[in-house]
């Protein structure tokens, strides 16, 4: 079985994002970029399934500008067999990403597609669900445990009420939650090895995908600031402060 992993590059989660003074966007110049944390977890899960002998090949795919090659090299160093780079001039919205991934799925025929539950830049949490719908296959989102056997995946999902278990027929789409696994660190020799692994580049336009970039982002603003509060020195003062606010 082949596993396709959607592997997006985003602003690193440690960066405190700033809005441009003119409200036209956020400042991304010179900001550290990394793999979306959920996508690293997706790749790790795929690699573990390969190590267990359940998967035979792990392919990572990204839709990103031409300078994203080092990002894909990282995924290859982590252990993916090969990469597909759909080259887009600008960031694409989830519906476009899902349509592109659907196109790759038609070509690659994977038994499983693993995506992150959300990209931490747009925080949309849509692409995996849209892909499953376009593909007409089952989805198990927000996975914290995955077992694959006999053409099925049993997936434990983190839902608001607790933990839900679904059984889905393969091929299927899974999106990862944080507790699914802890991604491995990349070792130096693996970086060397990754240099010879294949990256296929495809210009977005060549895929003939109808754009789903239907939303217009017209203005960016910083979030409303919370004013700095008061410090109290002990519990009686804390109780008094809560009382004065009518909270006790």
């Amino acid at each position: 079985m082949k596993i396709l992993v959607a592997y997006k590059r985003v602003v690193d989660y440690n960066v405190r994002i700033q809005v441009k003074p003119d409200g036209s966007g956020v400042i991304t110049d010179g900001v550290k970029l990394s793999a979306n944390p959920f996508d690293e977890i997706a790749l790790e899960e795929a690699l573990r399934l390969r190590e267990k002998g359940i998967a035979s090949e792990v392919v990572i795919a990204t839709i990103a500008p031409a300078d994203a090659q080092p990002h894909l090299r990282n995924g290859l160093a982590m252990g993916a067999n090969r990469a597909i780079h759909v080259v887009a001039d600008a960031a694409v919205q989830p519906l476009t990403a899902a349509r592109v991934l659907h196109r790759l799925v038609e070509k690659e025929q994977p038994g499983l597609v693993i995506l992150g539950k959300q990209a931490i830049d747009d925080d949309a949490s849509q692409t995996g669900q849209m892909l499953a719908t376009l593909w007409g296959r089952p989805q198990a989102t927000f996975a914290s445990k995955v077992e694959v056997a006999e053409g099925r995946a049993t997936v434990v999902r983190e839902v608001d009420a607790g933990l839900e278990t679904l059984e889905v027929e393969l091929p299927a789409v899974i999106t990862t939650d944080l507790r699914l696994n802890e991604p491995r660190f990349i070792k130096l020799p693996d970086i060397m090895k990754a240099k010879s692994k294949p990256i296929e580049t495809v210009p977005l336009a060549e895929l003939g995908v109808e754009s789903g970039d239907l939303l217009r982002y017209t203005r960016y603003a910083p979030p409303p600031a919370r004013s700095r509060g008061v410090m109290v020195k002990d519990v009686p003062e804390l109780v008094a402060a809560l009382k004065s606010r009518g909270l006790l």
């Binding site: 989660y13 405190r16 994002i17 809005v19 956020v26 989830p94 519906l95 539950k117 959300q118 931490i120 925080d123 949309a124 949490s125 849509q126 692409t127 669900q129 849209m130 499953a132 719908t133 007409g136 089952p138 989805q139 989102t141 927000f142 999902r157 983190e158 839902v159 608001d160 009420a161 607790g162 839900e164 278990t165 679904l166 059984e167 027929e169 299927a172 507790r179 789903g212 239907l214 939303l215 217009r216 982002y217 203005r219 603003a221 910083p222 979030p223 919370r226 700095r228 509060g229 008061v230 410090m231 109290v232 519990v235 009686p236 804390l238 109780v239 402060a241 809560l242 606010r245 909270l247």
Partner: protein, 311 residues
């Protein structure tokens, strides 16, 4: 005029409070508001939805296939119900996040996630980058708007309504590729984290599952729900459904008490809309104090029992 369809969330025959918050967002859009309840037996949640102020009609869709909320089973039915609607809304809970993008894909449109404010029928504000930026989004006017509603940003609609409940049959082919096995719910007599007026959360500083008894005792004194940071959940002190933050629950209680939580950006995203934030932490430089309305530097093992006794 807009015609807005809200997809109700429910569990064990009860309507989830998130639905009433979607009604408030729908009222901000303006138009005729319908609520769809898809269930094996929709009667209970449908009756509750009919009492929500502002709702014109409740559509009850009974189908054994709807016994559990399987997104790929619900989505084709919702897409049928959405015919003629200008907006389809669901809550930005795990239920809505799972389902609504499928609906958008079936309708061939984009989704606006986590609507926190409505500027017009097609113009919304939503948070991105873990809430570090708020973006104004314009959805196309020539197709239905599919959106999830960030529940923490909206009050619940009142309960004085009396909408009609209409039983509707939806004729759509449903897939059989997904089987529900089980739902393990954290059973708790405490208030629900997502709708509680008061929340006490513990972080890594609490140190162990046993020590969480301190947090529970304080919460019980306050009639509060219990929450946690990701670090506390990862360390196994409490179950996952208690996680507050970017990838956990986004909440807006009147009072939030953070105990032994450093205040990472991903955690703060979950509590930005809280009325009063209290932080108890032994590190005076912990970032949580930058957003706390009331801060107390101290050892939680001393402060929390003392506070519990003082209440």
């Amino acid at each position: 005029m807009s015609k807005i369809l809200i997809i109700a969330e429910h569990l064990d025959g009860r309507l989830n409070p998130a639905t009433a918050k979607c009604v408030s967002a729908a009222q901000a859009i303006g138009g005729e508001i319908h609520v769809a309840v898809l269930a094996a037996d929709p009667s209970g949640p449908a009756a509750e939805a009919a009492r929500l102020e502002g709702v014109a009609k409740v559509l009850a869709v009974a189908n054994p296939a709807n016994a559990h909320p399987i997104a790929q089973v619900l989505a084709p039915q919702v897409a049928r119900l959405a015919e003629g609607c200008s907006h389809v809304l669901g809550p930005s809970t795990t239920f809505g996040k799972d389902l609504m993008p499928c609906v958008a894909a079936l309708l061939g449109t984009a989704q606006v996630s986590d609507v926190m404010a409505v500027e017009g029928p097609h113009v919304f504000r939503r948070p991105i980058y873990a809430g570090n930026a708020i973006v104004t989004v314009e959805a196309p006017a020539d197709r239905p708007v599919v959106a999830t509603v960030r529940t923490a940003s909206w009050p619940a609609a009142g309960e004085g309504g009396a909408a009609t409940v209409e039983t509707v049959a939806v004729d759509a082919p449903l897939p059989a590729h997904t089987r529900f096995i089980e739902l393990k719910q954290g059973k708790s007599d405490r208030p629900d984290l997502q709708s509680a007026a008061r929340v006490v959360s513990g972080g890594r500083g609490v140190g162990s599952a046993e020590n969480f008894a301190l947090i529970h005792a304080l919460a019980d004194k306050l009639g509060a729900a219990v929450g946690a940071s990701r670090a506390a959940v990862d360390a196994g002190y409490v179950p996952n459904e208690l996680q507050v933050g970017q990838t956990g629950k986004i909440i807006a209680p009147e009072l939030y008490i953070a105990v032994g939580i450093s205040g990472a950006i991903q955690h703060l995203t979950g509590i930005k809309d809280a009325g009063t934030i209290v932080a108890i932490n032994k590190d005076p430089d912990a970032p949580i104090f930058e957003v706390a309305d009331i801060g107390l530097v101290g050892d939680l093992f001393q402060v929390v029992p003392e506070l519990t006794r003082a209440l």
